[in-house]
């Protein structure tokens, strides 16, 4: 009876809380600063996004600094500050996890879904080194924080449909939160057929199907301590990659962690979180759906990671410190078996990632010092030991074909630091930052064996002797607010040393049939990347607002050639109408002509484009339940286009009508 009452009170209070929750408007936040972008469905209980069920990829793409490199309709690769995933630190709630595909068909972001996450933290440049070394920035996909708020049971069901590709989504989320115990279970299923580019042109092999389930639970040991456990299982099957010569028959991840949390406001250490984790990925490439291939092949890959971190926050006087000690051990193995057209010949086998073991341990310390009420000075440092080891003797021997003197292991010491000054006044705020960072080459860059890059049409050979890639960075942000006007500028400059990139070795014979040649990973002495974004928004009246953003990026190497994958001039403008129960927005977004394209690195000039999107949202209250309806149209004019970040110029989606329905039981 007592329990029932408590349960009832919880339900009631959650209804009240829900009812009071202000409904934020749907808004593509063009004024978003580089530092932190908050996304995700859990905090998204307020349904700020235009599509409640859009993928993480879609969410990430909304950040100014992030562009998704697309090889199809699924599993896009995040790039930030014009740097690709090799130069970023992408983690799941501080956990290191590495894709198992040698051709980047499985970026980390493809192994979690919005249903798993509370928010995504995006930090530019050296600000992003909390979880690992990077040059371009860090993306942390954060799991929900423990909540012992006694809010009882809450159920959400989501359904989504998109006309383009006959894309169906269904999701379900159940959360129970008591005072000492909570449990969350969620699942999401997505299935899409081939999508159509503008003009009803079907893009073959762009289908996908996936599901993701996760379970999170926690128990409060006492006032200050709790134990949590989280398991995510993600399985994608039948994923097409129209830009690549192969598809994927299975991409499977199991991500598990247990953590101990300590929190106390009265002690020197305010919080201490320690997590042990493990994840395993299986990735199977498949060409059985392609009618004509030069040679049939199997290309499976596996990546297992074991790791830990221990993170403490300390507040003392005007110091605000964060200390993070972390470590991981990764095993990356990938192989290729080709079946000759002559059935009497033996299959051809090689290790494309010859069982590379990576061991890393490092320490991160950040201190934000409040100089006075307006000024903050912050500094961070990360130092770590990084070791690669080739576990398979066959791996050492195969790489010795190219590098006769290499041994099976290589140790590196990595250092990153940054400093930041911030001034916040009523009318304006400015922030100035400098940083220096290093990163170790990735497994593919260091040890890849005949990895085919279909964009450049070259085979790649890793280089175990690569030096660390290093970057000197300066960034500047300024914002001005007056009445209903907001103006912002954000800019960063990177001077990169030992910029890792492939160079053609004309003496080498291609492995992939039809490839133009073989590149070996090497480094440019230096390279420069610059980006600047201007943001403006103006609140015309209470429901009406307009905002816009302009972006310019530039990248060049010491060989005086433009770097590849540099975003051309980009713009976005939007007009919003928002009330508590209804919102609408009309959006124009586009890129200019890619005039600074890098033919040297296989790029061609991608013409400019502009697309128009419109979205709408309604919220209905029905007794204790709430219904959120989101609908709209993307690429209204059915433009046939591709952007600079579309692998092999595969065209993007044409006109797409979508509808998302969310039903929230208290």
């Amino acid at each position: 009876m007592k329990k029932f009452i408590i349960f009832g009170v919880c339900v009631l209070s959650s209804i009240l809380l829900n009812a009071q929750e202000p409904e934020y408007t749907t808004k593509k936040d063009t004024t978003k600063l580089s530092e932190i972008t908050v996304l995700g469905r859990h905090t998204l209980s307020n349904y700020r996004q235009e599509k409640t069920l859009s993928s993480i990829d879609d969410y990430l793409e909304k950040s100014n600094k992030i562009t998704m490199i697309k090889r199809g309709g699924y599993a896009w690769e995040a790039s930030m500050n014009n740097m690709n995933s090799n130069q970023l630190s992408v983690t799941i709630d501080g956990m290191q996890i590495f894709g198992a595909c040698t051709d980047k068909m499985d970026p980390i972001t493809s192994y979690v879904d919005v249903s798993n996450l509370e928010k995504v933290t995006v930090q530019s440049g050296q600000e992003g080194t909390e979880n690992g070394h990077c040059l371009g920035g860090g993306i942390d996909l954060q799991l929900p924080t423990p909540s012992f708020n006694g809010s009882g049971l809450k159920t959400t069901a989501d359904l989504g449909y998109e006309t383009n590709g006959n894309y169906k989504t269904a999701g379900m989320d159940m959360a129970y939160s008591g005072n000492t115990f909570y449990i969350n279970a969620d699942g999401i299923y997505r299935k899409s057929d081939n999508y159509d580019a503008g003009g009803n042109k079907e893009v073959l092999y762009s289908q996908f199907e996936k599901y993701n389930i996760s379970l999170q639970s926690g128990y409060k040991l006492n006032e200050n301590e709790s134990l949590d456990a989280n398991v995510i299982y993600d399985r994608a099957t039948d994923v097409g990659y129209p830009a690549l010569p192969m598809d994927v028959s299975l991409a499977e991840a199991l991500i598990a962690s247990v953590s101990h949390n300590y929190q106390n406001d009265s002690t020197f250490i305010k919080s201490l979180e320690t997590k042990l984790y493990f994840n395993t990925i299986t990735h199977i490439m498949d060409d059985s759906k392609r009618p004509i291939v030069p040679i049939r092949m199997d290309m499976p890959g596996w990546s297992d990671t074991y790791g830990f971190y221990s993170k403490a926050t300390i507040k003392k006087n005007n110091h605000n410190m964060l200390v993070n000690l972390n470590g991981f051990y990764n095993k990356s193995l990938a192989e290729m078996t080709m079946y000759p057209n002559n059935p009497n010949e033996s299959p051809m086998f090689m290790y494309t990632w010859p069982d590379i073991r990576t061991l890393y341990t490092g320490l991160y310390v950040k201190d934000a010092i409040a100089i006075n009420a307006l000024e903050t000075l912050s500094a961070s440092i990360r130092m770590g030991f990084h070791q690669n080891k080739i576990a398979k003797a066959a791996g050492v021997e195969s790489l010795q074909i190219f590098y006769p003197n290499i041994t099976d292991s290589k140790n590196r010491l990595l250092t990153s630091f940054s400093g930041n000054y911030q001034l916040k006044k009523e009318l304006f705020d400015v922030a100035l930052g400098v940083g220096y960072g290093e990163r170790a080459p990735t497994v593919s860059e260091g040890y890849g064996f005949y990895l085919f890059n279909s964009f450049e049409n070259f085979d790649y050979i890793g280089n175990p002797n690569l030096k660390n890639e290093k970057a000197l960075e300066a960034n500047f942000n300024a914002n001005f607010h007056k009445n209903n006007l907001h103006l912002g500028v954000e800019t960063s400059y990177f001077h990169i040393m030992n910029y890792i990139i492939g160079t053609i070795n004309p003496a080498l014979s291609t492995m992939t049939i039809g490839a133009n040649g073989v590149k070996m990973y090497g480094a440019l002495a230096h390279a420069s990347i610059f980006d600047v974004y201007l943001n403006a928004s103006y609140q015309l009246s209470k429901p009406f607002s307009i905002n816009g953003s302009l972006g310019y990026n530039y990248g060049t190497g010491s060989n005086n050639k433009p770097l590849p994958f540099i975003k051309p001039f980009s713009y976005l403008t939007e007009i919003n109408y928002a009330t508590i129960r209804f919102n609408a927005a009309l959006q124009l977004e586009g890129n200019g002509n890619q005039s600074q394209y890098s033919s040297f690195y296989g790029e061609d000039e991608t013409p400019g484009y502009a697309v128009i999107n419109a979205n709408f949202g309604n919220v209905f209250y029905n007794h204790t339940n709430k219904i959120v309806l989101k609908y709209g149209v993307e690429n209204l004019l059915d433009t046939n286009y591709s952007s600079y970040a579309d692998w092999n110029n595969i065209p993007r989606q044409g006109r797409n009508f979508y509808i998302n329905l969310s039903y929230i039981l208290p």
């Binding site: 080709m338 057209n341 021997e397 010795q400 014979s509 291609t510 039809g514």
Partner: protein
């Protein structure tokens, strides 16, 4: 009374221990070898061994033991020569072969190699004569042998541009691996039907290719050069993957004149001089 029984038992057990040690040395001397066949005469049986228990085209490392048919012991002090002969419809010829010598560290085993450059489909045609001298007395034994055709071309016989006939045979790698392999070949000149001496100080260039992979090649291969200590040609063969490889060769004489073989180009996908490998 009891001791009568014990003594024979002791003797027997001593003997059997002694015998078993004998057996052990036999086993050790033949470790990794399988008997192919025996050639017999009135006094001796010539036991022929190879690693896989058969003869096949290409390089064959052969071990020999001579058993005294009367005493059932193995001769430890023989000196041997041998002569393999192929009987063709209109003529007969021999093939490249080494001398036969006692293996250091072994008491009863003699060793040498024979390179059969051809075989009939049913393995017939070859015979082997062994001439040997024991304690100043000469003997010989002859018999037909079966030589199987190897699955891949590991030996080739050809006419050079100098109008001389040569034979090239692959010795190493026996167990190819992905990576750098030590490659060893033997090069012989056909002086006449029965004499195939080693050719010294020529050069054999190497270009390994995978026909199923649009003639993919590998880097870091080296030309094969002559080494006097084993009278063979040595070089590095790098193999980037398992599968079927064609080892395209070119034979150059001491004056660097091409005697046989071509460079591989888009038009010339295979040299007229090549060996094969599959693993």
């Amino acid at each position: 009374m009891k001791i009568k029984y014990i003594i024979p038992i002791l003797i027997i057990s001593l003997f059997s221990v002694a015998c078993s040690t004998d057996d052990d040395t036999d086993v050790n001397e033949l470790e990794g070898l399988t008997k192919v066949q025996e050639l017999s005469n009135n006094t001796h049986s010539i036991e022929l061994y190879t690693a896989n228990g058969q003869f096949s085209t290409g390089y064959n490392a052969i071990s020999i033991r001579i058993k005294d048919n009367v005493s059932n012991t193995y001769i430890e002090n023989a000196s041997l020569t041998w002569n393999p002969v192929m009987q063709m419809p209109t003529m007969q010829h021999s093939c490249p072969k080494s001398t036969v010598a006692k293996v250091s560290g072994k008491t009863t085993v003699y060793e040498g190699y024979i390179i059969y450059q051809m075989a009939n489909l049913d393995g017939s045609g070859w015979s082997l004569s062994v001439n040997y001298t024991v304690n100043g007395v000469s003997y010989d034994a002859t018999g037909t042998i079966v030589v199987k055709q190897a699955a891949k071309q590991n030996v080739t016989s050809f006419m050079g541009s100098d109008n001389k006939r040569y034979i090239i045979a692959l010795l190493e790698p026996k167990m190819p691996k992905i990576g750098n392999n030590k490659m060893v070949v033997g090069l012989y000149k056909m002086e006449n039907m029965m004499s195939f001496p080693v050719v010294e100080n020529y050069t054999i260039t190497l270009d390994p290719r995978m026909p199923s992979m649009e003639n993919h090649s590998s880097p870091n291969n080296t030309d094969l050069t002559y080494k006097a200590d084993d009278t063979m040609y040595h070089g590095n063969l790098s193999l980037t993957m398992t599968g079927y490889w064609v080892l395209n060769l070119k034979l150059l004489n001491a004056q660097n004149e091409v005697l046989k073989g071509e460079n591989i180009t888009l038009e010339t996908v295979k040299s007229s001089l090549y060996l094969e490998l599959e693993f």
